[in-house]
Symmetry: D2
Subunit: 333 residues, 4 copies
């Protein structure tokens, strides 16, 4: 099949996630192999507004597959959310002669891409956009998996394993806040993986007595002398929860906010592999004439979905996992 | 639902895999919570033959979720492959009053479980068996994922990242042999994740000129001065391949056989989480009266399958991944 | 030489440090090899008060050399600081027939040991004590190195390397608080190892304009777009420093408090090796009739010092390192 | 003090070691701060012969402190060992107007530097050379510590910890070959740190019955069912030793050759810190008019030594460590 696409842009936008570099590499190398020129847009949409770009060859993306962060930098652009901002971006697209853009990021990134594509269509031009889901929160409705989630989980469990060493030695309670302002995927996954005493997530209303106090008590009765409470940032502040544990259980917890550590680090095998394949599929979609798509994982496979439909999808939170967590952390009698 | 199952055994058999401990913990904790007693059988099927066991409470499996290896030890038993060997195992099952056994391992382990279950049925007794797939090779036909694969991939890429540091500095070629006597899942996944120059797997006939020599030459022409060749052990010996590269390309590769390092290490988040849920589902199947099952991942979900049917399943090797690898390691022009 | 010492106790006290287990193993194995019985006292001095102990054989300490924390647990005991508390401890020593105690911890631990030894001497009995310095702060006057420091440094740089990935991608400033209430060893060492823009330590009066604002400005002028500020907890709160940077430089830093993560983790090669040798030397000192000693590293060698003299020693903070830091983070023009 | 030195070269030569990049950064940044220009010579001495160089500013060495390998590449040069080869190198030095060279590597590197310095002096010119010891083998006579050793030790113990997981599960013997053709520093340090059953080093004649067979037997009698034998490559081939264990003890060991993995990886805190300070001291020596020096650690401090004297120094192997190893791995009875 002969591709109409001659030159594409690639950018990373929103919060960075480990594996973004692997996705950029996947896009660039596949493009080169398909005879498509590739331009790296720096600092997300604002780079498109400000003509902040760099031409990329196959070797431009050597030695980045194992690096955290994003070589293209990332940013959030208020200007791009305005019609005028996007007009400037369109001017850059026209100047560079871009036929397509691969945008790596989250829902906000994809909505920006769609708005750009529509606005450019109004002017009689055509720009195909393809989104690649990358966020450590795993909170993108259309895709079961998002790039960066696995690395963030591994980073969190490595930190919590270290905390457990010292909590066990001192027979203390630890309260750990992990990322997730609107979603508890990371907290629940990590909670299961470290055998947490309790996990608090935004998807489930917290009953402090039932969900924290009683769990610590049962662990104590079963012989445990240290406890690990994992909190998604959207389910409450670890500091506040630590205080309340002190008040209601009479023990003095140590509080840790993992913070931005979870965003960095060399990507895991899963994130590198998934990102590489998603980058490949994004360009193949463009090369095969399928635009306005989001690359997603569904039922363990990588597929591409219509961007508008994909943006309307929601992902049900798997509450079964909460049952598993509760069964496994209940030490019994 | 009231469960007929009163007491179950749990064992790990065959090659060990990171996450086996998390699976054992999942089995024991779920059993305790379902009011089912749990007996740990040591050293796989030979422990059942030799009455080598230990009673397990909820706290017996504390602090193992993050540990590699298996607290129950593992072994391969020739004796259990014989009718007489299984008779001895049946005697232990009857003595201990086991209603069910959860066997964690690979296809051989499951076939043993099925043979045991049938032989015990002939004697008028009933023993329900459930298998949990755990092997770093990911080569179990019925399950898309097997416990230990993710940790092994991460261990391999961490080792290869280190090799790359020194290969880059010296501008050398590295040949790395990873595990996989009959399957290239690990080699191909790892190869994509490290951006290997070439990957050799047993599922694809090796044409040395096309698959190795030409790939190194194209990388060199594109400006690379170091090369990474990943070999599944079933696709050839790294030492032999290193020699042949020396003869045919005139460079002197450094050969590394990763070996048993790939079997160990603290399990990754994915392996701990999957193993925990599989352990839970194994006991829930028994508690709900579903015996002779294998817990498997299909299309991103955990399901239980009829053991006999599951053992007959084959998994098609995803050759698309090989195309992705080739596209991404071809630096272009 | 025939040893008069027949039975010794070993305990860990104060804040835990990675490598304490390796030191315990070193003490126990050496004692066993010298024909000396060994009793593990749990939870530091309070275990001696409460007769909380366990007899240890050579195999009791198998598989702990690579584990963080301390298998003997640790605690701080107010009661032991009182004469009456120590009387109870002395009763336990007499009951168990201990000739010596190896106390692993910091200065407070050693002062407790000395007080105990003196008080027991007043009663006409003899108890030889030996201290092994273990604290991640490296703030023990008599020893150039303390067990746990190296692991804590490595943990801190791994976390900061991850932070750097995301700070670079977003072109942000990061403020990281590391442990060290009274000492800047960890902060300065880590600061050099990560190439920090600025490091604040308690040993050096902070001039915010000179030590933070100006350093960030010079890095910016030299082309940097992200900055890493490392703060010892004794030199100020990272949150406050972050606010002040925002006010005075106009950028919005991300603040991370590493906290107790720094105390845990599998000990590094250096901590395992040093702890093993110090455990060995502690028992050899007792076996050779040298009591009231602290095992210390001086000029790269392990020696034993008189405990009273050692407790009076102070360690000069090596301000040259600060000059090195400044030279190396000044990117220049 | 006003420096006579205006422009220096920096190179890495021989086998690469983690921390070489941190040393290069230390040299370049210190030079810039002293007003000295800095030229990076690529691929060791052969780069000086072939005029393969790059001018380095302060920002040229940003983001390398945490990277393994060497950004300047390294090589071994036969040509430089000849008078004519060095003549070409001298021509480059004169062309570039170099007053000094900082050579990072091992003894061979330093001997090359000294030969160069003398040969250039014969021609009436002056070139001051300073050596920085960097080799994972720690086998440089004049310096107690060499850059890269700590990282290599940590890499080795992480690999061996993983091996132990699987060896324990299968109750097997593991034979691990670590680097060290002429020196057992790495093997012995690592052996103590992992609690090896036996360690074979080139500095001590191996009595197989006493040093391997008897140790495995005593461990077995004390209750151990797995064994870890660490071999320095200079003390024998792990494969041969594995075969002999099979013959003489009747168990079937698993053999692992760690190989070049030990050379790579992000440098440890200790290697980054030491390398940074050594780089600083190397330039300060030149700036202060002290040439023909080797920067070394002696008694825990960094000093500079006359190069000729330093090259004549030998380091006594600390056999006490072998006693410690033996005491601690003898589990006793």
């Amino acid at each position: 099949m002969s591709s109409q696409v001659k030159r594409i842009g690639v950018l990373t936008s929103g919060g960075d996630a480990p594996g973004m570099n692997a996705a950029v590499r996947g896009v660039v190398r596949t493009a080169v192999n398909q005879g498509i020129e590739c331009v790296g847009i720096r600092r997300g949409w604002s780079g498109l507004i400000n003509s902040d770009f760099v031409q990329l060859s196959g070797s431009s993306v050597s030695h980045i597959i194992d690096k955290g962060g994003t070589m293209l930098y990332t940013a959030r652009s208020l200007e791009f959310m305005q019609h005028e901002g996007r007009e400037k971006a369109i001017a850059t697209c026209k100047l560079l002669g871009l036929d397509g853009i691969v945008a790596i990021g989250g829902d906000g990134t994809f909505r920006g891409a769609l708005a750009l594509s529509r606005q450019i269509a109004e002017s009689g031009h055509k720009l195909e956009v393809v989104g690649i889901p990358a966020t450590i929160d795993n909170d993108i409705g259309c895709s079961h998996y998002t790039i960066g989630f696995d690395t963030a989980c591994n980073t969190a469990i490595e930190c919590i394993d270290k905390l457990r060493d010292t909590m066990q030695s001192h027979e203390r309670c630890s309260v750990v806040e992990v990322m997730g302002r609107h979603a508890g995927y990371l907290a629940l996954y990590v909670g299961i993986a470290v055998g947490a005493t309790a996990v608090l997530i935004p998807e489930r209303t917290v009953d402090f007595e039932r969900d924290v106090v009683e769990k610590i008590r049962r662990a104590r009765l079963a012989g445990s002398t240290h406890y690990m409470v994992v909190v998604a940032e959207g389910a409450g502040s670890a500091i506040e929860i630590g205080k309340r544990i002190h008040e209601e259980v009479g023990i003095d917890p140590r509080v840790t906010v993992l913070g931005h550590i979870q965003r960095g680090g060399s990507p895991s095998a899963r994130d590198r592999e998934t990102a590489s394949r998603m980058g490949y599929e994004a360009v193949m979609a463009l090369a095969q004439g399928r635009g306005n798509r989001i690359i997603a994982t569904r039922d363990g496979r990588i597929v591409d979905l219509d961007m508008e439909e994909a943006l309307a999808m929601t992902k049900e939170f798997d509450m079964d996992r909460y049952d598993v967590l509760e069964a496994l952390t209940n030490i019994g009698n």
